[in-house]
């Protein structure tokens, strides 16, 4: 780590207009927005941006979305969960298209972030769209040299309602081809008939199977809906993990 503050945390937080280069559907309920942001100062895996929509009459609606792309990529990618009666997310997923502008500020946040220099092992636990900042961490990790990656093995445990609700499923399965990355899904509602994986909410037994033993002193990142995050964080501490190495981010259903 350098002694200087990264630009990502030291600059003033101003609104900028980013240019949309693509909007792609990830699952039935989520989409990813690919952006070109002029003068983007760079970000750290786990950070988010604030997005602002302004109506003709001046009414403003603002939401936070996690950054899905790793710091190494030229484009900034946000993944948005579409809430049916939301004010912002239906516009982002259904109306926004390439060449549109989108007002945003960021990157924001410094607590729920991970750089490969911080080391591991890495234990990532996601519920629903909480996988977004954790995917940025895995993608950031994948950019490191093989020798560095070998010293930072990673396990992801990801809880989704159905097989089709798993965001970045193909990408995660690609990342899991690295020998030092394990990706495990648990499906809490309808699973395919040939599904052999977990079929329940994340519990202590699952965290003991997928997680690292406390003696490995993993860095844990837990992100998802508040009940899942609080349950998982409590279980990890009960298992014996150091609370100071368990970082959490709660995602709310703000649309």
């Amino acid at each position: 780590m350098t002694a200087e503050l990264p630009a990502a945390t030291a600059s003033r937080l101003d609104w900028h207009v980013a240019s949309v280069t693509d909007v792609r559907r990830e699952t039935a309920r989520t989409c990813s927005i690919v952006l070109d942001v002029p003068q983007w100062p760079g970000h750290r895996a786990g950070q988010h941006v604030d997005v602002r929509l302004v109506a003709d009459d001046g009414y403003q609606a603002q939401r936070s979305y996690s950054i899905a792309s790793p710091p190494e990529d030229a484009s900034l990618v946000l993944t948005v969960e579409r809430i049916d009666d939301g004010e912002v997310s239906p516009y982002l997923c259904d109306v926004l298209q390439a060449h549109d502008g989108l007002e945003l500020r960021g990157p924001i946040g410094g607590y729920f972030v991970w750089d490969i220099a911080e080391g591991g092992p890495l234990l990532l636990v996601a519920g629903g769209s909480g996988v977004v900042p954790l995917a940025a961490m895995l993608r950031h990790r994948a950019h490191a040299a093989a020798s560095v990656r070998a010293s930072v093995p990673a396990h992801l445990l990801y809880s989704a309602r159905t097989w089709d609700d798993i965001i970045y499923r193909d990408d995660l399965e690609q990342l899991a081809k690295f020998s030092d990355v394990t990706v495990a899904f648990t499906i809490t509602r309808e699973a395919p008939s040939d599904w052999r994986g977990y079929r329940r909410r994340i519990d202590r037994a699952m965290l003991e199977e997928i997680g690292w033993p406390p003696s490995a002193t993993p860095r844990a990142y837990v992100c998802g809906p508040t009940p899942l995050v609080e349950s998982v964080a409590t279980l990890l501490v009960e298992i014996g993990h150091d609370p100071a190495r368990v970082r959490t981010e709660r995602f709310g259903p703000t649309g």
Binding site: L5, E230, F251
Partner: protein
């Protein structure tokens, strides 16, 4: 929707805090004026909404920080926080 799903954490207040502070505040270590325990700002319980931010101590529920935006400016009440340690570098 369950009430607990509406409760987020200090990470979600990072943008509102950056409107006031020069640095990211989610890693700042904040000591509760109620129970004297210190927590990173990112783990405080956030009951905020469109009006602003209400951050409570995760140990004792004391309201540690309130920010309310009004047309005339922002009110910030930090009387529930006795000390804030803002790290020199992000951790």
């Amino acid at each position: 929707m369950r009430v607990e799903e509406m409760r987020l954490d200090g990470n979600a207040a990072a943008g509102a805090l950056r409107e006031i502070f020069a640095h990211d505040m989610t890693t700042a270590l904040v000591t509760c004026a109620g129970c004297a325990r210190a927590s990173p700002m990112g783990v405080l319980m956030n009951y905020g909404g469109p009006m602003g931010v209400i951050l409570r101590c995760p140990h004792c529920d004391t309201v540690m920080l309130r920010i309310v935006s009004t047309p005339g400016g922002r009110y910030m009440d930090a009387s529930g926080s006795s000390v804030m340690l803002i790290p020199e570098r992000p951790t």
